[in-house]
Point group: C2
Chain length 212, copies 2
Amino acid sequence: MTVPPSGRTRLRRLPEKAAADLASLHAVLDAARVAHVAFVHDGHPVNVPVACAREGDRLLLHGSTGSRLFRTLADGAAVCATVTLLDGMVLARSAFESSMHYRSAMVFGVATVVEDKEAALRAMSEAWMPGRWETLRAPRAKELAATLVLTLPLDEWSVKISDGDPDDPPEDLDEPVWAGVLPIVSSYGEARPAPDLRGDPPLPAYVASWTP
Amino acid sequence: MTVPPSGRTRLRRLPEKAAADLASLHAVLDAARVAHVAFVHDGHPVNVPVACAREGDRLLLHGSTGSRLFRTLADGAAVCATVTLLDGMVLARSAFESSMHYRSAMVFGVATVVEDKEAALRAMSEAWMPGRWETLRAPRAKELAATLVLTLPLDEWSVKISDGDPDDPPEDLDEPVWAGVLPIVSSYGEARPAPDLRGDPPLPAYVASWTP
């Protein structure tokens, strides 16, 4: 399934890096934990990191009823939510051709408040920490009351992926320097138990399958 | 050195996570390679990932003279450049208290065009790939002409750092689940030489000291 680019989602720079399929969009969003959500406040741009998770054809954004950002968004402000994953450094023969590997998705739209907060929170928990939700106590009413979940439809978006080798021009290929890609690898380090952990519960087995 | 928060940089949510010293701002920006730069275009927010590096009391942003974003910014648009580094997952006894470790910096201002492009490009290269610049040929005039470097002063900003243990209320401490922090660790993986690499140059020794 592809979405024709609109005026603002058509990539002007490096259009060969554009991905137009929904699967690419989903994959980029699924690999992210945080979206940068930009909106206009008093005519000025504001850009806030927000915990996010994709569920189906929408992006869930996690916040608080006490947050000015979230109240502004819930009031129908237009947003541009952007997710970027940095995957490596591209060492070309010249500084000019040196670049980075990345996956980036940009979603334009208006967020709305999710009515079924508990289902949305569960979906986000499963996206970030699969398997953990069912081991936790149920949310309390006051906790749900303090939480605001927004949803942004995946209607207008663009995806850009840079994952190639250095693209040096022929006249640079004899430069006497190493060229190639240094991939960035992210993983979870050693788990650090809470200082007030009681009863010595083991690290859950499901953690072993998690990737950041 | 501290900067008194202005109306829009005072943290309303979780103010205990605010850092007001310039050293914290510098440390967060220095750990980042990409800033999300938001600006207003035709009344709507646009939010674009841009390669960035701090140099002294300014943030350098790397772009192209062919980029609409960069031409808009060079024309004096107000921006909000936000950098976020995700450092771990905080597994609390409840979903409500579960959170993430992060370092985030937000810089408001107007970007201007850097006149001495070569010096700025060198500073960015040294920030991202220390030691490499002097091994590369000098930039060509046409390369410099195609490059636009913008600078954003570090005058109005906020920093937020979340690095604590789970903060469960007393009534949850006997929940029979593991709680603690899973740190996220980023490193460079195995270098992948360019397919068209000639003469078998070794991977430079300076790469060993790099961190992503």
